[in-house]
């Protein structure tokens, strides 16, 4: 029996030429130092690919149960979570392996950048790698839409509104993206096609090209300070190095397998412990209080957009992503020779630190989202009792008006409430009565963040509100503006007419 199978195998191999073509590829030599501890830097790309395999496997599994139809998708997700055997686990694994894939890609890319592995002759490998990153981000975005809940619906709305800002072509792009005039079944079907056919097709094609380029150009040797890349001599030196090299299909691969197995184990444990993500509320557009958040790889962009002045917003939405992608494409053409060791490339190291710090801070802001009003703070967050103790009837009336006019949605008292505007716990110590009336009546001048309440309040309501706000001072502190009679020592007292 064994002999028969062996013969069958040999016959297939003779016809298909597997061992004649693939075996030398697997055994291709890699620089000897990869066999050492430096080899651990080379495991992140293969880990991304391993997680991609999990994505394909779990994705196929989910597609056998999930219904990509707007009226049934949500129910099929609930069915997956609660009824189908191991459905919850597949959904969880698909989410966390996808997240892990993004993490591995970023580490892989950072390592390649820091080690200058993108330099001659591996420029194209880097460019295709950037395309792989773009595809992965596309998978993340479209995947969130398939989780057909409130976040998905409004995420699509926000995406549509951004695309709608494109001059001239905007309406056409929105219509093509949504597949119709409203967000609904056609939109979901489009994103299903994107997530399951179009983007994965592109991703696998680019991955094939990426791997081919890795084989063709070879794995870069760990950088050594002083060993510079010179296109004129690089090939010769590299081939000399390969003569002393070790086969890839050997101990070098062992590290990849070890790390991939570790990554899979971690992802499986996280999926099993944390469970599937959502779906949250059903995709009913008339449900109020929706507060859509993008998935974590896009939180930094959400933060950046929200913190930028409205005047440059359209630029950040439409041009900035193109610039980022363009800058990434250009990396190997800006510097494709010279030093590779990070210790000799301070600018590269600084860039990585600056970029990750920025991304981290913006992501933190995106999680906090202090720019989002708390829509139910006016009715849900009571005025702290300390701020009402011993107040006059007028001031108490003002506190009621302050709540009733929805001020709390943006203004916190004692840290509770919205954070879009400043916390007003001690506002009486910094703004005078007149300043407060001006601020409330006119809002932020020039159309800033505070609406003008002039017409939204009666004079009596204004009077009471301002009385309450003036009373908001730290214990013992006088109201703002009441110390103008006592000039600071050493200054010339000004005439009364000028101080008013």
């Amino acid at each position: 029996m064994y002999q028969l199978l062996l013969k069958l195998g040999q016959w297939i191999d003779a016809r298909a030429g597997v061992s004649a073509t693939l075996w030398p590829m697997m055994r291709h030599p890699v620089p000897r130092s990869i066999d050492g501890p430096m080899g651990w830097w080379y495991v992140f790309g293969s880990a991304s690919m391993t997680l991609l395999l999990i994505q394909i496997l779990t994705g196929i599994g989910l597609s056998m149960v999930y219904v990509p139809s707007a009226d049934k998708a949500y129910e099929s997700l609930l069915y997956l979570d609660y009824e189908h055997p191991w459905g919850w686990f597949l959904r969880a694994l698909h989410y966390y392996a996808g997240s892990g894939m993004v993490v591995m890609l970023l580490i892989h890319m950072t390592q390649v950048f820091l080690h200058g592995a993108y330099k001659y002759p591996r420029e194209l490998t880097w460019v295709v790698g950037v395309l792989l990153l773009a595809c992965t981000m596309g998978m993340f975005f479209t995947g969130q839409i398939l989780r057909w809940d409130t976040d998905a619906y409004w995420g699509l709305a926000v995406g549509g509104s951004m695309a709608g800002r494109v001059p001239v072509l905007g309406p056409f792009i929105v219509h093509t993206l949504l597949g119709g005039e409203i967000i609904g079944a056609s939109s979901l079907s489009r994103f299903f096609a994107l997530h399951v056919f179009i983007i994965p097709g592109a991703l696998l094609a680019f991955l094939g090209l990426h791997l081919w380029l890795v084989l063709r150009c070879g794995i870069s040797a760990p950088p050594v300070p002083g060993e510079v890349v010179d296109p004129a001599t690089y090939e010769k030196t590299y081939h000399e190095e390969l003569k002393r090299g070790v086969p890839f299909f050997g101990d070098a691969l062992l590290k990849d397998i070890f790390f991939s197995a570790l990554a899979v184990t971690i992802v499986v444990i996280i999926a099993a412990v944390v469970g599937p993500k959502g779906p949250n509320e059903p995709p009913d557009p008339t449900l109020l209080g929706a507060n859509p958040r993008p998935e974590w790889p896009f939180l930094w962009l959400f933060g950046l957009l929200s913190l930028s002045p409205p005047a440059i917003e359209t630029f950040i939405m439409l041009v900035f992503p193109v610039l980022v992608l363009g800058a990434l494409f250009l990396v190997p053409f800006v510097s494709n020779r010279g030093e590779r060791a990070p210790s000799r490339r301070p600018v590269a190291v600084l860039l990585v630190i600056v970029i990750y710090t920025t991304l981290g801070v913006l992501t933190y802001e995106g999680v906090q989202a202090p720019w989002s009003p708390v829509m139910n703070a006016w009715s849900g967050d009571p005025v702290p009792i300390d701020l009402l103790d011993g107040r006059s009837p007028l001031e108490l009336q003002g506190a009621a008006v302050f709540q009733f006019k929805n001020c709390r949605n943006c203004h916190a008292l004692d840290g509770i409430g919205g954070r879009r505007g400043p916390d007003l716990t001690t506002i009486g110590a910094s703004l005078t009565r007149d300043q407060l009336i001006t601020q409330i009546s006119n809002g932020t001048p020039g159309g800033g963040n505070m609406p003008a309440y002039g017409k939204q309040m009666s004079p009596a309501e204004m009077d009471a509100t301002v009385a309450f706000l003036v009373s908001l001072r730290p214990n013992g502190q006088v109201p703002a503006g009441s110390v103008e009679d006592s000039p600071i020592e050493g200054t010339t007292p000004q005439p009364e007419s000028l101080t008013e």
Binding site: A70, V158, M162, P171, A185, P310, P451, K455
Partner: protein
């Protein structure tokens, strides 16, 4: 093989001058047929992917005129007729309706505002206490007239097209409004 190459070229009968007319014709015909096939394939496929389905305007009933007290804002939810039969709850749409009394010509005046924020489309809520619309996403605020009050929106709320028919308020079924594709595009231009 290399040794045979000269013999095959010697066997081939060269025509005097350029490519023989039959071969040139065939080449030209292949090009033409290829272009025809490509065109026949491309046009319908492009149409399938990108063309817009055109339908006559559809009107949705909002309610009897008496349902809208003067100077008050009502949020009306309805099933958008622009839906697909398999849209489920996603075709539910909300608009804010405000009755503004009779105009100089004695006709009823309504204000029908789309619920989608003019900034990035999130759903604005009406707060009758302060007379403001607020958006939960980035803090866009609008006055009761739909005019922008504060925050990032580049314009006021989108206005729906409305009419009064047989004592009832009707609006034209609204598509998803965006900055360059408002609900009253034909009226504004």
């Amino acid at each position: 093989m290399d040794t045979q190459t000269p013999s095959t070229t010697t066997v081939k009968h060269e025509c005097p001058g350029a490519t023989p007319p039959r071969r040139a014709f065939f080449r030209w015909l292949t090009g033409l047929l290829g272009a025809t096939a490509t065109g026949l394939l491309t046009l319908p496929i492009l149409g399938y992917f990108f063309a817009r389905r055109t339908r006559p305007a559809m009107w949705v009933e909002m309610g009897a005129l008496a349902d809208f007290p003067l100077g008050e804002t009502r949020t009306i939810n309805f099933d958008n007729p622009l839906r697909q039969p398999w849209d489920g709850m996603t075709s539910l749409t909300g608009v804010h309706v405000r009755y503004q009394g009779q105009g100089d010509d004695g006709k009823e005046q309504f204000l029908v505002l789309a619920a989608n924020c003019a900034h990035l489309g999130c759903p604005v809520s009406w707060f009758p206490q302060s007379g403001l619309f607020m958006c939960p996403c980035h803090g866009g605020v609008y006055y009761e007239t739909g005019e922008r009050a504060s925050g990032p929106p580049p314009r006021g709320l989108f206005h729906c097209v409305w009419r009064v028919k047989d004592g009832k308020l009707e609006i034209e079924a609204p598509h998803y409004p965006t900055l360059h594709d408002t609900l009253t595009g034909s009226l504004e231009s």
